[in-house]
């Protein structure tokens, strides 16, 4: 009897990355509004983070430029020209809000699709492919959200500074511009990383589960 042989059984093919990218794009497109909400969560976190960091930089530069005429927002700043402990607190807070907000968005976005993951595995998806799909999706969302968030954060802090310091704020740009751009860059990478890390955990867990268990998960 042929029992115990693996005759006739093949290994499931690995789909090319291009196919995974196509499917993840399509997946984002067909659940556009749901993806937008997740992306908006990332956007807000990053916008807050960029606004706080850039805000402190702009304040520092502008108080120096305007000297005594400056609108003194903090005695510390005028005295030392450094970031005050209050601002450090704000930056830390914004970072926490950003990390927790994005991680939560991604966690929910993956967890609500456990059943779908189970179904895909029933239909022949490899664990690796499932994880790949979710990492790509979260990466796209993270990047889009973070780019838009950095822009929104920058624009809002510019508007606020415009109100505080007048048009002079544009003349000061060469002094703070580089640092602000650097903050925006860091925030973009941060946003994308947190989004991917936030999605990786539940996606990996769901992919490892036997399909029967994944499909049983109710949220």
């Amino acid at each position: 009897m042929a029992q115990g042989t693996k005759e006739g059984i093949k290994s499931q093919i690995e789909l090319p990355l291009a196919e995974a990218i196509r499917i993840s794009f399509q997946s984002l497109k067909i659940r556009f509004w749901r993806s937008m909400i997740t992306t908006a969560g990332i956007l807000l976190g990053i916008a807050f983070f960029v606004a706080v960091l850039s805000g402190s930089e702009i304040t520092k530069v502008m108080t120096e430029r305007q000297g005594s005429q400056a609108i003194v927002t903090s005695i510390d700043e005028v005295q030392t020209g450094n970031i005050s402990s209050q601002q450090i607190w704000l930056i830390v807070m914004s970072l926490i809000v950003c990390v927790v907000g994005i991680a939560n968005s991604m966690l929910m976005a993956v967890t609500e699709r456990f059943r779908e993951i189970g179904t895909m595995k029933c239909l022949g998806a490899l664990n690796k492919f499932v994880v790949e799909l979710f990492l790509l999706e979260s990466g796209f969302q993270g990047l889009t959200g973070a780019l838009m968030g950095a822009l929104v954060g920058f624009i809002s802090i510019m508007l606020i500074s415009l109100k505080d310091y007048g048009l002079d704020v544009f003349l000061g740009f060469p002094q703070y511009g580089l640092r602000v751009l650097m903050y925006m860059g860091v925030a973009c990478i941060l946003g994308m990383l947190i989004a991917i890390i936030g999605a990786a955990g539940p996606a990996y867990r769901a992919a490892q589960l036997p399909p029967a268990d994944a499909m049983r998960v109710e949220i």
Partner: protein
């Protein structure tokens, strides 16, 4: 299919499978040593009250869950010997699944749902479309190809699920209470489609159910109670009983 290596005529065989679940501090024994043999081309119903372990058995046969002990053979291949990529191949090509809750991907159209397993099988886009349409026509839903599951009735959704289960020409179709969420008539339609598939394409059908209508078309019925096989009956032994059971119910 006949040119394949000579194998036994057993499509599915389980040897002493047990399944235990950890429920808080206690261990729940859902299956307590089940041995069944299912021949190629058979239409099998697994019957039993809720909680008897029939869905658990279904999951074991379908390689959707691992038994705590014992072995499952599909087409004479021991599932324990397969690595994850081979299990995925088996799920993709050899077995089709139909669920009580349909399990269609809600954001995808009927066509996209049916062609999803073909993506995993590596078919090209044009091949997928052609085959997808053939399958949807087979279940009478070619006109609804672009509809999403929430735009279809329960019966139609289950027909999409049946089409999807046939995507890569499986030799075994597993159906877990396929008529459980459907009314009497729609349920009968689904059973007829399954029976047709079984007769025409010699697909082995294994269905966990407690729908008595299902018995009428089954070659054999496996009764499960308390995680064990209580009895196995051929259809010829059933005929009379169905009448009485249905008679009692009405």
């Amino acid at each position: 299919m006949s040119e394949a290596v000579v194998k036994s005529d057993i499509a599915v065989k389980t040897v002493g499978i047990t399944k235990e679940y950890q429920m808080g501090g206690t261990i729940l024994r859902a299956l307590k040593g089940v041995d069944v043999e299912i021949k190629r081309g058979e239409y099998i119903s697994i019957m039993g009250p809720s909680g008897s372990g029939k869905s658990t058995l279904f999951n074991m046969i379908g390689a959707l869950d691992r038994p705590t002990a014992g072995t499952v053979y599909i087409d004479d291949v021991n599932l324990l010997e397969l690595n994850p990529a081979e299990i995925a191949w088996l799920r993709c090509w050899k077995i089709g699944y139909i669920f009580q809750t349909f399990n269609l991907i809600p954001v995808m159209t009927a066509m996209e749902n049916v062609t999803l397993p073909m993506i995993f099988a590596g078919l090209s886009s044009s091949e997928r479309k052609k085959k997808g349409m053939e399958l949807l026509t087979k279940v009478g839903l070619d006109q609804r190809a672009d509809h999403k599951p929430n735009e279809l009735s329960g019966g139609q959704q289950q027909r999409v699920a049946i089409a999807r289960s046939l995507a890569n020409g499986p030799s075994i179709v597993l159906a877990d209470e396929p008529t459980g969420n459907l009314d009497l008539r729609t349920g009968r339609d689904i059973i007829n489609i399954l029976r047709d598939m079984n007769k025409r394409e010699n697909v082995t059908i294994i269905s966990a159910t407690h729908d008595l209508k299902m018995l009428d078309v089954s070659d054999r019925v496996i009764y499960i109670r308390d995680g064990m096989v209580e009895q196995i009956k051929a259809r010829s032994e059933l005929k009379l009983e169905i009448g009485t059971i249905e008679g009692e119910q009405i």
